[in-house]
Amino acid sequence: MMGEYVAGRRYDAALHLLDRQIVDPDGRLVAKVDELELADRPDGRLVVTALLTGPGALGPRVGGRIGHWIVAIWRRLRIEPDPMPGRIDVADVVSIDSAVHVGRRRRALEVDGLERWMHYNVVSRIPGAGHDPE
């Protein structure tokens, strides 16, 4: 386990977190940090609750007509009727350096939306796709 954030270290959210690569415990590339989710605590402190990934998070950040199209195309390519961006709870982050390291494996994080779309719409329709390889 890589442990906690570096003690006493402070991070600037846009400079140190946005667009950084997220890496799982096996060194696999998970996604990029496209947006951060924040929430107010009852005591008035603002806290980071999650890393958001994928076009559903990036589009609103880009804004304008291009951002709108990014979100529209992403929605079209999702299976769910009301898709949400990939979300990694901040409790899964174990350290931050030039990358953001998470403690759960890529598959368990379930942020691979396009892969699932490809499986559902393309791969599963190929004849023989339901059989185990011989």
């Binding site: 991070y11 600037d12 959210a13 947006e35 806290v47």
Partner: protein, 120 residues
């Protein structure tokens, strides 16, 4: 602990920063985070420690505005000149936040801390 509905970092970035009497100090250029007390075992939560405020929409400029020792010196000098009126506002100085389009951050102080904008 009960939390509010989720917000996004970009709802905060770029918001005008004003004093309680309406004077504009700049815009939110970045949001500084600091680990809080350990929550789950060794892990901490990431709390918002304060706001990096710039006097223009110049973006982060690759961090040259926040690392005193970062070179090359010509770029460092130029960026620090552009951001000379920027500074740092600790979260404890935030009076209120109106989120989203047309929103703004109101500070309870009338002057930014020009030393704490630099990361240590």
């Amino acid at each position: 602990m009960t939390l509010s509905d989720p917000r996004r970092l970009h709802d905060l970035l770029g918001l005008p920063v004003v004093t309680v009497d309406g004077r504009t100090l700049g815009h939110v250029n970045d949001v500084r985070l600091a680990p809080g007390p350990a929550l789950h075992g060794l892990r901490s939560e990431l709390l918002v420690d304060g706001l990096v405020v710039a006097d223009r929409h110049a973006g982060s400029l690759l961090g040259y505005d926040r690392r005193a020792e970062k070179g090359p010196w010509l770029v460092r000098v130029a960026v620090r000149f552009l951001h000379r009126r920027g500074g740092y506002a600790p979260w404890s100085a935030v009076h209120s936040v109106e989120w989203g389009d047309g929103g703004h951050v109101v500070l309870a102080i009338d002057r930014l801390d020009d030393r704490d904008a630099t990361l240590t």
